[in-house]
Amino acid sequence: MIRRTVIPFGPQHPVFPEPLQLRLILEEERVIEAIPALGYMHRGLEQLATVKDYTKTLFLAERVCGICSLMHALCYAQCIEELQGVEVSLRAKYLRTIWSELARLQSHLLWLGLTADAFGFESLFMQTWRIREYVMDAVEFTEGNRVMASSITIGGTRRDLSPEGTAYILTNLEKLEIGLSAIFPVFTEDPLIKQRTVGAGILRKNDALRLGAVGPTLRGSGVAQDMRMLGYAAYGELDFQPVIEDSCDAYARMIVRLKECFQSIDLIRQAIRQLPEGQTLTKVKGVPDGEILMRIEQPRGELLYYIKANGSKNLERWRIHTPTLSNLPPLLHMLKGARLAEVPVIALSIDTCIACTER
């Protein structure tokens, strides 16, 4: 009889920037089962929203996660606007789209750098994070801050994009595109990276749907689903097709993110070309009442907000369903049968965000 071993993978592990534990049950080198243990950083934000003024909850939403701060603010603002019947100006919608794509770029580049670091490929990690700075500089120049920008508010945006800001974004995107083109073949062709990712963490199309996968994890399994196809903000005005790969492994998920970086550059350029003139903020009066469901595409996948308001300034319920919550069951499926040495790469391949998950 083969002896079983239980290995606690995390909560502190070099491949996890945040605390998550996977209890791995192994037979020799193979994972038989993986059980996640969460709860290291739950902050009770959903409950806090029931006692905070709904306008202040926007700032709570921004603080659900540092990397997707802007996306949370966007989803929350869209919910309240829908409940209060506020029509956001077209210019504000375009600005939201441009900043959302900058946020996606910095998130994907952050992940690509961390992945390179996990392979022990430190020069690639440094090059990836070096070019990520072009995005961070553009975010800081146009939104006023690198992380908690607070550039989105209920009714539109707090800032406008000046001609200097537009030019700065375009110049930095040009530099970024050159840098990305240089590292793209390293990620896709390097034998070390291919050896670690090709065939690792297989998630077939049917399993991905049945297990509720979202984002690049779902699209890496050949499913063309991206919430940007819903046309929220200005996405409905842009030429957009989701990136998909069908090899269903960690390599496919990495390629999806790499190609999505080029796609984000293209979307920002399209949005800047079509950016209409006009106001960026619509005045909002009153308090929200009713129920609303909103979905947007975060860098890690589908983000769902449910808000129930009762005509008072406190929300009755604010439910946040984040992409990592959805990608956790697929991760457990991918880990079954994997070798212990493959676990870090497979766990990284879903791009976990524990701050979002535990909120």
């Binding site: 709860g39 029931t50 006692v51 049945r210 009713g290 469901l293 300034k313 319920r317 959805s326 069951p329």
Partner: protein, 127 residues
């Protein structure tokens, strides 16, 4: 505001879910709300970007069948329902016993359950 909502009873839940599974619907998640007299549960589904919501209401003491035998991913939301609201979910294959996101080191228990049923969510007063 909330489109594509189908009201069902607890008895119909598993049959409805089996039908959705046969049509390859993806379970997004489950939202539970304390209505003051029981729980309002919304099951969110997606197929080709179309959203479908199953809504059912149960009393505080009623047991809720787990969807995890049909959709393993349901265990995440069902454990949250147990943690935050104290919903009694039965046949849950991965059951954290109300410690999925909450910690045994704190005194916080079912924080989204209203005070009306004897829970103290803490010292924070509404603004």
């Amino acid at each position: 505001m909330l489109a594509n909502v189908k009201e069902i009873s607890k008895e119909e839940l598993l049959t409805e879910v089996q039908e959705l599974a046969a049509q390859h619907y993806r379970l997004i998640g489950i939202t539970g709300t304390d209505t003051g007299v029981g729980f309002d549960l919304l099951y969110h589904w997606d197929k080709d970007l179309e959203l479908l919501n199953l809504r059912l209401q149960i009393n505080y003491e009623e047991e809720l069948p787990s969807l995890a035998p049909l959709y393993l991913c349901a265990f995440v939301s069902e454990n949250e329902l147990q943690d935050f609201l104290g919903v009694k979910v039965v046949n849950l294959p991965i059951n954290y016993q109300k410690l999925f996101l909450l910690s045994e080191l704190t005194s916080v228990n079912t924080p989204l359950l209203k005070k009306a049923v004897g829970n103290d969510p803490g010292e924070v007063k509404p603004e």
